[in-house]
Symmetry: C2
C-alpha cells in the first residue's frame, strides 16, 4: 500500500484498480515478451492486418492474428469501426527490423493480439476525429465528448489539473494555507448588475451567484483563518462577450498581517513552484511598474512587455515648432504630443496597414494620427517636416530612437492619445508578425506587477462623481491616507495587478480593516448605501486584522501557458459566447409548474405570448 | 526557495511572507532569549500585568512591562479591549519557577513585551467568545466570523482542508486521476424537481444548478478522460430539511474500464490515505453486505454496525403456536415475525422508555410492538408466554440470544416491521447510552459497503409503475441483465453505498454504457421522455467505454470524523435550515428593474401585493 505522497508524475499508478496491465502509451522494448492487456479506442485499422489502439496516454500498434485458431479475434478486430472501444490481450513483440517508428514512444514494439473483445462499437462519426480541429467550433462544442479525445484538449486539461495540484501543494503543504469553501448562493452586492439571480422559495427573495468570494474571504480573516485559499467558481453575467464565460475559476487567496510585497512574493513563489517544466522556468521577482508609468509608456494598465515600441512624450521636442495642432494640444493643462516608433515599418507594413491603423484610432478613440517615415537615407518624410528645423528633426529622431525604415505614429491630445497609441502598438505588433517579423518570442512569459492604481475614478456617466477603480474594500496607499479626506481623486490604492504577456491574469489589494475608514469610503466618497454591506462593516468593528489578498484568473492563466487562442480550450465543457451549452442545450425552457415554487413567471413579449397561445 | 512538495504538516511555513517571527502556538523553552514578533487577538488581560494573545495556532502569555520607559506600551496593552488585534515584539523568557503551565503547549515561556501596537480595536462583543457555544445557533450564525475564531470551528475547517488535500494527493499524484471542473450552470434534468433555476437573458429560458456532475462525468469518460475526480459543489433545493444545505460538496469520482470491486478498493485506499492520524487508523477492505441482508438484519440500507441487536426472524419458532396475530401475519405471502433483543433493557430502560418506543413504532410505521422480558430467573414475562410451551420459550431464548434482564421487542407483519424494528434498534441504542450503558465506542469508525440494491422500485404514488432506485444511468447486475427485459422488478443493480456508523457517506455505481440498454431503461422501463437526455444517449453510441464511479458526501464525512452534531459545523458559512444566510441576510428582495434583463417577474400573493401598494 502506497502511503506517501509522491509529487512526481512518474510514480502515478495509471493501472491500479483496473484489469489492464498497461496504458497504450507505456510499452517499450523492455516489455518485449510480456503478456499485456490494453484497453483503448480504435484509432486506425488496416486491411485486417493491424490496428492502432489509443488511450489518453498514447498509441500502440496491435497485430491482428492471421491463423485459423484466432479467426474469431481477426473477425472482431477487422470489423470494429473506428473509435470503437476494445480490449486486447497479447504479447509484446519487437517490431520487425526497419519497421520501428522513432516518432512514436511505443514505436519499438507491437502487441500480437491473442484475445480481444469489442466493449462498445462506435457508430459513424459526424466527422473524422483527426480533421476535427478544422471543423467549426459550434460543431465541436456540440460533440464536445469527441473533441475531448483530441490530444490538444487532453493535454490542456491534464496540464491544468497538474498546475492546480502544484499550487495546492505550495499553498497548503508548504505555507500553511487552509482551503475553505465559501457559498455561491449569496445575496446581491451593491452594483452587482452582472450577478446571476437564483429565485428562492420565499416570495420575492432571490439568491445571487457571487462574482467572487470577496466578502467571504475578508470575513474569514476576521474569523482568524489567517491564510485562506480556494479554487473558487465565480459567476458573471455579461451577456455575450467574446472569450468570457458565465462561470469561471479563480485561485482565490487572502492573508492576515500581510503587506503588498508579501502577497507579491507569495504569488511569485506560487507560480514558480507550479510552473510546468515543459514550458521552461520563470524568473522571480517579477518586475513592477506603476499604473501611471504603464499608461504613459504603453497606453494600457496591462502592458505587453515582450517587445518595445514604448510611447514617447515628444511634447518638449515640438514645443518650439509652429504647428497649429501641436500648439493647440499643448495649450491644454494635460496636453501633450506622443508617439510610437514601429521598427522596420516601411518594410513590413503596407499602406493599407497604415491606413487601417489610423482608421482604427479614429473610430475607436476619435484620435487623429500623424505618421513620420524614416527614409533609407535617414531623412524624415511627413506632413510635419516642413515645420521642423534640422535640430528639431534630429532631436525627434533621437527621442524616438528612429532608424532607417522605421515608421512613427504620432498623436496629440489631452488624455486619450495614450490609449490610442497603446492600441496601435499592439495592432502594429500583430501586423509586423503577420508579415514575418519575429517581434515577440512565442515561448517567452513576461510577468509584470502593475501597482499604485488610483483608488477612485470619475464615473463615466457623471465625471463629478467617483467610483471605486476596483472595489470599495481596497485600502488607500499608506502615503495617501490623509488625501482620502481632502482630495480623494488623488489617492493611490494598495491594489496590484499581475500581467502576463499583456493579459491581466490576477489582481488583488490590501483591504481596508478599519470600520470607520470603510464607512467613510462607502458613504462619503462613493455615496453608496452602506446598509447592504452592514454585516461586513460590523465585522470590521470586532477585531478585524489587517489583511490583503489576490485572485488569479485560472482559465486565462492556463490558456496562456498552453498557448491556446481561447479560454474555451482549457475548460472541459465551455459555453458558447452567447452563454449556451451546445451539447446539452442549456439554458432551456421550463414549464410554468416548475416556476411555481419560486413564485416567478416569465414576462413574455406580447408577440411571443400570442404565438404560444396558438 | 522550497521546491519540493512536503506532505507533512511540520514543514509548513506559517510565517512566510509576513513580519511575524512566530505564531502564538509555537514558542517553547528552546526559544528562550529570542526576540520575537507576534500578532494575535487579546484573549485575556489582567490588571495591566499580563495578557494572553491568541491566533489560529494557540495562546502565548505576554508580560506587560511595568517600568517608566515602557509606560506607553503598558497603557496600550492594559487598555486594549478583549478581541482587539495587537502586534507585540519582545523577548522570550522562561516562566518563573512554579508558574509553568503544563496544559498549555507554550506554558513554559512568556514573552516580555518591549513594543506593541493596537492594529484594530474590538468593540463590545455581543457575548463572551468562550460562552459562545452556549448561545443560540442563530446568534452564532449571525456573527459567524466570531464563531469561526473558536477552537472548534478552526480545527474542523483545518482538518477538512487537510483531509481533502490528502485525498487529492492520493487521486492525482498516486493514481493518475485528473481534476476536471464541470459546469454548474446547466439545464434541468428529467425529474429534477429539486434543482434551483437560474434565469438567463433569453426570454423564458433557464439554467439549472445540477444536483451532481453525473452527466458530465460520464461524458468525460466518453471523452477518454479515463480517471476523473472533482471536489464538486452540488445544489439541491429541498426547502427546509434539518441538516441539509442547499449547496454541498462531494468528492466526485469516475473511472473507465473498472468494475465494482475496483471502485471499492480505490475508495478504501483513498480513505485510509487521507484519514487524519489523530482519529486512529481504519482497516481495509471494508466489510460488505447486500441490500437484502441489511434490510433483514438491521431494517435499513445504512446499518450502524457498531453494535449488535440485529433483527431476528422468529417466524419458525412461533409457527406452531396458537397466537392469533402470529398466525394472521404468517398467512400472508411475505408475512413474518421478527424481533430485536435489547441487552439489559430491564435495567436501562424505564417503562416510559418502552412506552415511547412502542408509540413511535405505531406513529411512524403503524406497527404494533409486543414486548418480552427475560426475568432475573431466566423466565419470560410477556402477554405471549401463556400461548407458548416450554420448548417454544427456550427456542425463542436461543434464537434471540436472550439473557437475564434483556427486553425483546417483537413485530409481526408483511413488510414494514423490519423498518420499524430498525428504527427501534437505533432509538433503544440512544436510550441505553443516555442511561449510561456503553454500547458504541465513540472513537470507532465502522465502514460498510451495501451492495446489490434493486435497480428499480415501485413508485410510491403508483406502485404499478417503476422508478430508478438511484438514477437511470445505473447498470444492472451482470447476472440479472436478461431479467431487465422479462421482470425488471427483480433486477439487482451495480449500485453500492458506503455507510459509516449508520450514515450514508457515499454512493455510486457501474453505469450503463450501451446506448440501446440506456434507451430501453428510460423508455420501456421508466416510461420517461428520453429526449432531454438525447445528448447523453447519443454519446454512448460514439465509443463510450465501460465506466463507473462514486461520490462521497464530504460535509457528512467530515462531520462524522470530527464528531460534530451537524454538517453546519464543518462548513465555514452554512445556511440555516430554512436556507437563509443569517449573517448577510440572503436570499433578499431585488428590484423589478434587476429582474428585467431576465424577463421574469415575481408572482406576489394578492395580499402582499396590496400591502406593497400601501
Amino acid at each position: 500500500m502506497l502511503q506517501q505522497s509522491v509529487p512526481s508524475q512518474q510514480n502515478q499508478h495509471f493501472n491500479s484498480f483496473v484489469t489492464r496491465t498497461n496504458t497504450c502509451g507505456e510499452l517499450r522494448a523492455a516489455h518485449v515478451g510480456q503478456k499485456v492487456t490494453l484497453y483503448g479506442w480504435v484509432q486506425y485499422q488496416r486491411q485486417g492486418l493491424f490496428l492502432v489502439l489509443r488511450d489518453f496516454q498514447g498509441l500502440t500498434q496491435v497485430i491482428i492474428p492471421q491463423d485459423e485458431a484466432h479467426s474469431h479475434v481477426k473477425e472482431l478486430l477487422s470489423n470494429a469501426p473506428l473509435e470503437s472501444v476494445v480490449r486486447v490481450t497479447g504479447t509484446v513483440s519487437p517490431r520487425p527490423s526497419g519497421q520501428e517508428n522513432p516518432k512514436m514512444p511505443t514505436g519499438d514494439i507491437e502487441v500480437k493480439a491473442e484475445t480481444a473483445e469489442i466493449l462498445n462499437s462506435c457508430k459513424k462519426l459526424p466527422f473524422e476525429i483527426k480533421d476535427f480541429i478544422k471543423k467549426s467550433e459550434a460543431l465541436r462544442m456540440q460533440y464536445r465528448y469527441l473533441d475531448l479525445r483530441s490530444c490538444r484538449l487532453q493535454s490542456a486539461l491534464r496540464l491544468r489539473s497538474r498546475v492546480v495540484m502544484r499550487m495546492r501543494e505550495y499553498l497548503c503543504n508548504l505555507h500553511g494555507f487552509v482551503d475553505v469553501e465559501t457559498p455561491t448562493l449569496f445575496k446581491r452586492t451593491p452594483g452587482g448588475a452582472k450577478e446571476f439571480l437564483v429565485p428562492s422559495r420565499e416570495v420575492g427573495k432571490f439568491y445571487s451567484l457571487p462574482q467572487s468570494p470577496q466578502q467571504f474571504k475578508q470575513l474569514l480573516m476576521v474569523g482568524g483563518m489567517d491564510r485562506y485559499f480556494q479554487v473558487a467558481r465565480c459567476y458573471r453575467d455579461e451577456g455575450s462577450r467574446p472569450d468570457r464565460q458565465p462561470e469561471f475559476t479563480q485561485i482565490d487567496i487572502e492573508m492576515s498581517f500581510v503587506d503588498q510585497a508579501g502577497i507579491q512574493r507569495l504569488i511569485e513563489g506560487l507560480l514558480q513552484h507550479s510552473w510546468p517544466e515543459e514550458r521552461g522556468s520563470i524568473m522571480t521577482p517579477f518586475p513592477s511598474m506603476t499604473y501611471e508609468e504603464a499608461l504613459a509608456d504603453y497606453g494600457t494598465d496591462k502592458p505587453d512587455t515582450r517587445f518595445g515600441m514604448k510611447i514617447v512624450d515628444i511634447s518638449d521636442v515640438l514645443r518650439g515648432s509652429n504647428i497649429h495642432f501641436v500648439q493647440n494640444a499643448l495649450s491644454y493643462p494635460h496636453g501633450s504630443i506622443r508617439a510610437i516608433c514601429i521598427p522596420q515599418g516601411v518594410r513590413y507594413l503596407t499602406n493599407k496597414d497604415l491606413g487601417s491603423l489610423k482608421e482604427s484610432a479614429k473610430s475607436q478613440f476619435n484620435q487623429e494620427i500623424m505618421e513620420i517615415i524614416c527614409r533609407p537615407d535617414g531623412s524624415l518624410k511627413s506632413l510635419l517636416t516642413k515645420f521642423l528645423g534640422e535640430k528639431e528633426q534630429s532631436e525627434l529622431i533621437r527621442a524616438l530612437n528612429m532608424e532607417e525604415g522605421d515608421v512613427v505614429l504620432l498623436a496629440a491630445g489631452e488624455h486619450k492619445q495614450c490609449s490610442a497609441l497603446g492600441a496601435l502598438r499592439l495592432l502594429s505588433a500583430n501586423l509586423l508578425e503577420a508579415a514575418g517579423l519575429a517581434l515577440r518570442d512565442p515561448t517567452a512569459f513576461h510577468f509584470l506587477w502593475v501597482v499604485d492604481f488610483p483608488l477612485f475614478l470619475p464615473k463615466a456617466e457623471n465625471p463629478t462623481e467617483l467610483e471605486s477603480a476596483h472595489h470599495p474594500f481596497t485600502a488607500p496607499h499608506p502615503s495617501d491616507v490623509s488625501l482620502l479626506y481632502s482630495d480623494p481623486t488623488k489617492v493611490r490604492s494598495q491594489h496590484y495587478d499581475l500581467v502576463l504577456n499583456g493579459n491581466e491574469v490576477g489582481g488583488g489589494s490590501i483591504r481596508i480593516h478599519s470600520a470607520e475608514q470603510q464607512r467613510f469610503v462607502l458613504e462619503k466618497v462613493l455615496k453608496e448605501d452602506s446598509e447592504v454591506l452592514s454585516h461586513l462593516i460590523e465585522a470590521l468593528e470586532f477585531g478585524a486584522p489587517p489583511h490583503g489578498g489576490i485572485a488569479l484568473g485560472l482559465d486565462r492563466l492556463i490558456s496562456l501557458i498552453v498557448d491556446a487562442p481561447s479560454i474555451r480550450d482549457v475548460i472541459a465543457f465551455p459555453k458558447s459566447f452567447r452563454g449556451r451549452d451546445l451539447m446539452g442545450n442549456a439554458p432551456d425552457y421550463v414549464t410554468p409548474e416548475e416556476l411555481e415554487p419560486y413564485h416567478i413567471q416569465v414576462s413574455w413579449p406580447l408577440e411571443e405570448k400570442e404565438a404560444k397561445k396558438n
